[in-house]
C-alpha cells in the first residue's frame, strides 16, 4: 500500500495551465470576495457587491472568448486528467455565465422589493455558477460529482432565501430532500461504474477494454440515470420541479430553470455519451422512453395551470424532454444541437421570467394569468417583447426557440432510425400543443381588461439591461444562426 501511494505521487502530474482556468478563477475568487466584503458594507455602498458580481461574470465571459479565439482547437487535460477544458466545455460555461448574468441583472431591484438581504445572494449565485463550470469541465466522475454538489447546495439555500415565506420554506425543504436523495443514487451509480471498470476517469471508462463486470456497469448506468434524471427533471423524477419553482422567489426560479438545468445536461452528455458508450443500445431505449414521457406529460400538465410561474415550471419539464432527443440520437451533431438548444432556452426563458418579475414587482400583485390583464394595452412595447418570448418558447420560426428545436430534430432525423423519427413526430405534436398555453398569456395580456385599476410597472436599469440582452439573443439566435456557426464545429468527441 505504502509503495503504491509513492508510485502514484511520482506519476502525478498536475499540468495546470492558469490561462485556460481563468473563467473559474475569476468566478470562484469573486464569490469568496463578495462573501468577505458584504458584512463590511453598510447602506447604499452594498450595491458594490452587485456591481462586482456582474462585472466578474462579464470578465469571465471575455476570458472564455479570448481563450476561444487564441486556441481554437483546445484540448487540455489538467489536474492529473481530472479537469478537461475543450471548446465544448467552454461553450457550456458561456451558457451558464449568460444565465447568471441575466439573473444578477433582474435580481437587484426585485430583492429590494421583496425585502431580501442581498449580500449572500450574489455570493451564492457565483458559487453555484462555479459548480456548474466544474460539471461541464469534469474529466473525472469525482469532479463531476463535487461540481454537482457545489451547485446543488447553493441552490437549496437560494430556493429558501425568502426566509419568512412558508412557500419558500417548503420549496427549499422539498428541493433539499429530493436533491440529497438523487445524490445518493448518483453516488451509488458512480461506485458501481468504478467497480465495473476500475477507474473513475470519464475518458478511461470507455477505453477500459476489458470491462470487469457488465452487470455492475448496467446497475451503475441505471443508478446514475435516476440521479441525473432528478436533476434535469425528466418525467418519472419530475415531481419536485413545479413546487420548487413555484415556491422559490421568482428570480431564483429563473436562475434554476436555466443554468443548473444546462449543467445537469452537461453531466448527462459527459456520462452517457462519452463514458458509457459501450452501453449505447440499452441507454438509447431508456432515454427514448424518458424523452417521450417528459415532453408529453410536461405539456399536458402545463395546459391546466392558472399560475404563469407554475406554467413555466411545467414548460421547463417539457423542454428538458426536447433536449433529451439529442441524447437519444447519440451523434456528435446531436450533442452540438443540444448545446445550441440549451443556449436558446436560457436566453428566451430568462426573458419570459424577466417580464414576469416586472409584473410581480407591483403592489398586491401575484403571478396568476389575471395579473397580466391589460398589460399589452398599457405597455404595448413590453407586450410585444413578451409575445416574442412566448412564441420563441413555443417554437415559431423567426426566433431562437425555432432554431434550437430545428437543429435538435434535424440531428435526430439525420440518424435515419425509425424510432427517432417517431420521437421527432411526437415532439412536433407536443410543440403544437404547447402553443395553447404560451399564447394564453398573450391573449390575456392584450384582450382582457384588468378587474381593478391598472398598477404601473417599475422599469429599473438592471431589468432593462436583462430585457435587451435576452431579446437580442432570442432574435439573433433565431434569425442569424450563421454568427453562431462556430458552434457547429464543436462537438463532444
Amino acid at each position: 500500500m505504502q509503495e503504491s501511494v509513492k508510485t502514484i505521487l511520482e506519476n502525478f502530474s498536475l499540468n495546470i495551465d492558469l490561462v485556460t482556468l481563468m473563467p473559474e478563477i475569476i468566478i470562484c475568487g469573486m464569490a469568496l470576495l463578495t462573501m468577505i466584503l458584504e458584512p463590511f458594507l453598510k447602506g447604499d455602498s452594498r450595491k458594490v457587491v452587485m456591481h462586482l458580481t456582474w462585472l466578474s461574470i462579464v470578465a469571465a465571459l471575455i476570458s472564455i472568448y479570448s481563450i476561444w479565439t487564441s486556441q481554437p482547437n483546445l484540448q487540455s487535460l489538467q489536474f492529473a486528467d481530472a479537469y478537461r477544458i475543450d471548446s465544448y466545455s467552454l461553450l457550456f460555461k458561456a451558457v451558464f455565465l449568460i444565465g447568471s448574468l441575466l439573473t444578477v441583472f433582474i435580481s437587484s431591484n426585485f430583492l429590494k422589493f421583496k425585502n431580501v438581504p442581498d449580500g449572500e445572494f450574489y455570493s451564492l449565485i457565483l458559487f453555484a455558477t462555479f459548480g456548474m463550470m466544474n460539471m461541464a469541465s469534469a474529466g473525472d466522475l469525482i469532479v463531476l460529482f463535487i461540481g454537482l454538489e457545489i451547485m446543488s447546495l447553493c441552490l437549496y439555500v437560494l430556493a429558501g432565501i425568502l426566509r419568512r415565506s412558508v412557500y419558500a420554506n417548503e420549496a427549499s425543504l422539498k428541493y433539499f430532500l429530493m436533491g440529497a436523495f438523487a445524490s445518493g443514487f448518483l453516488m451509488f451509480g458512480i461506485a458501481f461504474i468504478y467497480g465495473a471498470t476500475g477507474t473513475t476517469s470519464i475518458v478511461d471508462v470507455i477505453q477500459s477494454s476489458e470491462i470487469l463486470s457488465n452487470t455492475y456497469l448496467i446497475i451503475g448506468a441505471a443508478m446514475v440515470m435516476i440521479g441525473l434524471g432528478f436533476k434535469v427533471g425528466a418525467v418519472p423524477f419530475h415531481m419536485w420541479i413545479p413546487d420548487v419553482y413555484t415556491g422559490s422567489i421568482t428570480n431564483v426560479t429563473a436562475f434554476m430553470s436555466a443554468g443548473p438545468k444546462a449543467a445537469a445536461f452537461a453531466a448527462f452528455f459527459q456520462v452517457f455519451i462519452v463514458a458509457l458508450r459501450p452501453l449505447q443500445s440499452e441507454i438509447e431505449v431508456v432515454l427514448w422512453i424518458l424523452s417521450a414521457l417528459t415532453m408529453t406529460l410536461g405539456n399536458i400538465l402545463a395546459i391546466t395551470q392558472n399560475d404563469v410561474k407554475r406554467m413555466l415550471a411545467y414548460s421547463s419539464i417539457s423542454h428538458a424532454g426536447y433536449v433529451l432527443i439529442a441524447l437519444v440520437a447519440f451523434t456528435p451533431a446531436a450533442t452540438t444541437a443540444g448545446l445550441y438548444y440549451l443556449l436558446c432556452y436560457t436566453v428566451m426563458n430568462i426573458g419570459a421570467f424577466t417580464v414576469l418579475i416586472m409584473v410581480e414587482a407591483r403592489e398586491n400583485s401575484d403571478t396568476n394569468f389575471s395579473s397580466f390583464a391589460g398589460m399589452g394595452r398599457r405597455y404595448p412595447f413590453l407586450g410585444i417583447l413578451l409575445t416574442i418570448f412566448m412564441i420563441s418558447l413555443a417554437g415559431f420560426p423567426p426566433t431562437a426557440g425555432f432554431m434550437g428545436k430545428f437543429l435538435v430534430f434535424k440531428s435526430a432525423i439525420d440518424t435515419g432510425s425509425t424510432s427517432l423519427i417517431v420521437l421527432v413526430v411526437l415532439a412536433v405534436v407536443n410543440s403544437l400543443v404547447s402553443v395553447y398555453y404560451y399564447l394564453r398569456v398573450v391573449v390575456v395580456m392584450f384582450m382582457v381588461e384588468p378587474e381593478l385599476e391598472y398598477r404601473p410597472i417599475n422599469f429599473a436599469t438592471g431589468i432593462i439591461a436583462a430585457l435587451v440582452i435576452s431579446m437580442g439573443g432570442t432574435l439573433l439566435l433565431g434569425i442569424y444562426p450563421q454568427i453562431f456557426a462556430f458552434f457547429l464545429n464543436t462537438a463532444l468527441i
Binding site: 460529482f145 463535487i146 437549496y156 429558501g160 420554506n169 425543504l173 445518493g184 453516488m187
Partner: protein, 103 residues
C-alpha cells in the same frame, strides 16, 4: 468462510435499501435526513470494497469515499439549517404539514 466482494456489496445494498425505504416512508424531516445519511454510507462501503477487491494498487476508491464523507457533512449542515427554518415558521418538522402547494 472467506468474505468476498459480493458480501460487502450485499451489505451496502441492504443499507441503501433501508435508507431508501426510510426516505420514502418517514414523516419527520430529521428522520429523512438520517436515512439519506444511511444511503451515503452505503455508497462509502461500496467504494471501499471495490477499491480493496478490484483495484488494490490504486487509491481512487478511498479518495472518493473521503469526498463522499465531506459532501455528506455539507449536506447535513444545509439540511439542518433548512429544518430549523421550517421549525420557526411551522412550529413542526413533520413534512405532512408542508403541503401548501399541491404536489
Amino acid at each position: 468462510m472467506q468474505v468476498e466482494l459480493i458480501h460487502f456489496l450485499c451489505l451496502a445494498a441492504i443499507l441503501f435499501g433501508i435508507g431508501l425505504y426510510g426516505v420514502l416512508t418517514r414523516r419527520n424531516a430529521i428522520g429523512i435526513l438520517m436515512c439519506v445519511e444511511l444511503m451515503f454510507n452505503a455508497v462509502n462501503i461500496n467504494f471501499i470494497s471495490f477499491a480493496k477487491f478490484i483495484t488494490p494498487d490504486k487509491i481512487i476508491g478511498q479518495v472518493f469515499a473521503v469526498f463522499v464523507i465531506v459532501i455528506a457533512a455539507a449536506e447535513a449542515t444545509v439540511g439542518l439549517a433548512i429544518v430549523i427554518l421550517i421549525y420557526r415558521n411551522f412550529k413542526d418538522v413533520f413534512i405532512d404539514k408542508m403541503n401548501i402547494m399541491k404536489w
